[in-house]
Amino acid sequence: MLTCRELTELVTNYLEGRLSLAERVKFEMHLAMCRHCRAYVQQMRETIQTLGKLPEERVSQEACTHLLDRFRNWKQQ
């Protein structure tokens, strides 16, 4: 049997699809029976989603103008 503690160390391999079939079956059987670990995996998924929503930094007008100048020079070469 997989323990909860072991499951928390396998979660990335699970989400990455890197568990063997046997390991995945054990993992999913544990999840089916353990709501705490279901919550953990769900938190992990939400963590990943949250990271994907971090605001982008905008390019400064100055940098953009400078790059466009260099682009025009490059074009002429």
């Binding site: 938190q43 963590t47 260099r70």
Partner: protein, 212 residues
């Protein structure tokens, strides 16, 4: 500066590459607006300060232009640009004696477990189990500016290797194989770094959410 395509929405890459080769300014501006910020964020992992990062990224753009003919479309444009930056930033970081050795980290790193061991009984079962965030936190709250700030702070507090992997995978959305290529790490190390890094960000979010 009127290009307003959402940065995370991929555009047709072949089209952009072709337009760049033809010297299309709008295509270049679009690319810069999409990736300049993420590139700066990434460069700061390797070099000391903002102005150096800006310089390295500007040079990266020029390297992208002069390398256009060698871009074969085998990798995604985004990961190709990040690879160019990683090489330049690493060289620059070495010169500044700020090396980040991405391949140094053995899988069995001394970084500790994903979850505080005190939260488990000796049997390995939960003593202090996690609770579902959506029970007390509607999704909109998870995306609340304050929560995002906590995630950002946790990300920035990670060791550079983990931070680089988590940034490229989860913030920028690159594939595992692309990240291995950009950072020159093995598939296994990539996964270990991702695991450690994500676990710490999760723990930070959990602390924040449970305080509410």
């Amino acid at each position: 500066m009127s290009v307003s395509i959402h940065p995370k929405v991929p555009f047709n890459e072949n089209d952009v590459v072709q337009r760049l080769r033809e010297g299309d300014e709008a295509a270049f501006t679009h690319l810069v607006e999409t990736y300049h910020g993420p590139l700066i964020r990434f460069a700061l992992l390797f070099v000391g300060d903002r102005s150096v990062a800006e310089e390295v990224v500007q040079d990266t753009w020029m390297a992208v232009l002069s390398g256009l003919d060698t871009f074969e479309g085998r990798s995604a444009l985004k990961s190709w640009i990040f690879s160019i930056l990683a090489n330049r930033a690493k060289t620059r970081g070495v010169r500044e004696k700020r090396t980040v050795a991405f391949s140094d980290l053995a899988p069995a790193d001394p970084d500790g477990p994903a979850v505080d061991p005190d939260r488990f009984a000796s049997s390995g079962g939960w003593l202090a189990p996690p609770t579902r965030w959506d029970h007390n936190t509607p999704e909109s709250q998870l995306l609340h500016a304050e929560t995002l700030a906590v995630a950002k702070q946790a990300l920035e507090a990670l060791p550079p290797n983990q931070r680089a992997v988590v940034t490229l995978r989860d913030v920028e959305g690159l594939e595992a194989a692309e990240v291995c290529n950009v950072l020159d790490v093995s598939e296994t190390n990539q996964r270990v770094l991702l695991h450690r890094g994500r676990a710490k960000v999760r723990a930070a979010l959990e602390r924040h959410i449970s305080k509410r």
